[in-house]
């Protein structure tokens, strides 16, 4: 598993397209959203913790689309390249290989995301003279951003089993807007629920509060009051969904092995 993780990480993180696409989408994000001021209103951008939460809010609105799309071609890559024959003739466990691939690919695909986020924190720390921003950026990345990425990564492993990677990318972007970004009153949506991957429950439940039910919206049973407990619940839901997706991927592979 560690060998697969290491090599899948290396192969993905060295892919020039990965960095290029992130860079382009980031450029658009930085040009259209207040990424430099970190002023989203409602929070004090002078406070390092609030600033890092705002940076996370901005990046997580957009970059997960790149993340999911860049992962989508990886699950089928061994087969497409014709390496799977050799790999399957090696008595190393196939579950371990899937897990290693998942962890390596997701970590690699999250690397530019992390780099941009830490880069902003470093810039903030220097300009504002607030070294605490660096610590907060790590805390925020791990608690608010990473759990959602764990789930989205598994989704991008499972989805391409049903539809070709290209179509999956289109559907994934559509899902991202519908399930995570649109206002809850627009139509029934997973936005602002514990099933949304945007990490609002972690951000609000652990750090800020003031977030919860929207009785006027559909699916409101999925919107408990944001508390430390419901934040932990959200992390649990993300990990459970990721695990469920990976189990499906493994079962699918077993079925088609005959």
């Amino acid at each position: 598993m560690t060998a697969t993780m290491r090599y899948e990480y290396l192969m993905q993180v060295r892919r020039p397209t990965l960095w290029l696409v992130y860079l382009l989408v980031f450029a658009v994000t930085a040009a259209t959203l207040p990424f430099w001021s970190l002023d989203l209103g409602g929070r004090d951008p002078g406070d390092p913790r609030s600033a890092m939460l705002s940076a996370a809010d901005i990046l997580i609105a957009v970059l997960p689309m790149v993340y999911g799309c860049m992962i989508a071609d990886r699950p089928g890559r061994d087969r497409a390249l014709g390496v799977d024959g050799v790999l399957s003739a090696i008595p190393a466990g196939r579950t371990g290989r899937l897990l290693g691939k998942y962890l390596g690919v997701c970590a690699a695909t999250a690397t530019p995301f992390l780099a941009i986020f830490l880069g902003r924190a470093a810039g903030y720390a220097v300009i504002e003279g607030e070294a605490a921003a660096l610590g907060w950026s790590l805390v925020v990345f791990l608690s608010v951003i990473a759990p959602g990425l764990a789930f989205l990564g598994a989704l991008a492993f499972a989805g391409p089993l049903l539809v070709p990677p290209l179509l999956f990318r289109v559907l994934f972007v559509a899902y991202w807007f519908w399930g995570n970004l649109i206002p809850v009153t627009m139509m029934p949506t997973l936005s602002h629920t514990v099933l949304s991957a945007t990490g609002e429950y972690a951000a609000r439940g652990w750090f800020e509060g003031g977030f919860g039910p929207r009785p006027e919206a559909a699916l409101d049973v999925l919107r408990p009051e944001a508390t430390p407990l419901s934040a932990a619940l959200w992390v649990g839901v993300m990990i459970a969904l990721a695990a469920a997706m990976l189990v499906l991927v493994r079962l699918h592979a077993i079925r088609s092995e005959s």
Partner: protein, 289 residues
């Protein structure tokens, strides 16, 4: 490692009987598996490598039943497999690719692994290209990377599926010679539809046709299948109507034909001694189709 199959059958979804009641016994050494396109060679090899479950029948390799999980692991531990359509990661160098496969094969000790990879790169004459990306490798070079990865764990059984197809003559000869040198006390199962490759490297062979085993034994026996049935005929007239033409070479005003026929196809035809290819063609001519 001895390979024995009995009544081995593989029916693909969609009802293709790719392997049909094959009883095969492969001893240690270099062994050829001949068959035309679609004969079932790849299917048989994928079953032997534990990648495909047979529909019915038994497969025992070195005393292990490949259809049980434990047997499969035991066989795969000592197996080197070069698939017909081997692919590689284009963004890795030859050395890195081999390193990855070696790690998966359990060669955990770093220095031993590096040494083994270095040795094998020399064996397959890729030493000077070791640190180039595989993207730029030619077909022959990729095939050599393929054989190097198959040899990493010093396997007792080497399964190579049509490794010489598409190689230029020199590379082909080099490759098959390398394989027979590797045989020694290993079992090397070589599939091909190039009869010459088997003729030059194997003492024993099996022939598959439409999933059935139509011959197994020594190469000499297959040659003798065509004994007394191979003829040379030089004529400037029309092509002989009898027998099967295996060669036609323009010569002077006429054409020299090489024919396989049960009896002299022409009063002027001269009997000649058969080759393995003649034996194979004679066999395929009478094989149930």
């Amino acid at each position: 490692m001895r390979i024995q199959t009995s009544k081995l059958t593989k029916v693909y979804r969609g009802k293709v009987r790719a392997i049909d009641g094959v009883d095969l016994d492969v001893p240690v050494g270099m062994y050829g598996l001949l068959g035309s396109n679609g004969a079932g060679k790849t299917t048989l090899m994928r079953i032997l490598a534990g990648l495909l479950k047979p529909t019915s029948g038994r497969v025992v390799l070195g005393g292990h039943d490949i259809t049980t999980p434990a047997g499969r692991v035991a066989v795969q531990r000592t197996l080197g497999y070069l698939p017909q359509d081997l692919g590689v990661y284009p963004d890795l160098t030859a050395r890195r690719f081999l390193d990855y496969i070696a790690l998966l094969k359990g060669l955990d000790a770093r220095s031993a692994r590096r040494r083994r990879i270095g040795e094998l790169l020399e064996v397959v004459a890729l030493g000077e290209h070791a640190d180039r990306k595989l993207r730029g490798f030619s077909g022959g070079m990729l095939r050599r990377v393929g054989i190097a990865q198959a040899l990493l764990a010093d396997p007792r059984l080497l399964i190579v599926d049509e490794p010489t197809t598409g190689l230029d003559p020199e590379e082909r000869i080099r490759f098959r010679t390398m394989l027979s040198q590797l045989a020694g006390d290993r079992t090397v199962l070589l599939s091909t539809h190039i009869v010459e490759d088997v003729a030059q490297t194997c003492r024993d062979l099996a022939v598959l046709a439409k999933g059935r085993l139509v011959f197994q034994g020594a190469t000499g026996e297959l040659v003798s299948q065509a004994a007394g049935r191979v003829w040379n005929l030089t004529t400037s007239g029309p092509a002989p109507a009898e027998g099967r033409i295996v060669a036609a070479v323009p010569e002077g005003a006429g054409t020299r034909y090489r024919l396989i026929a049960a009896a002299a196809p022409h009063p002027h035809a001269e009997p000649v001694s058969p080759t393995l290819e003649d034996g194979y063609l004679a066999l395929m001519g009478v094989a149930p189709c």
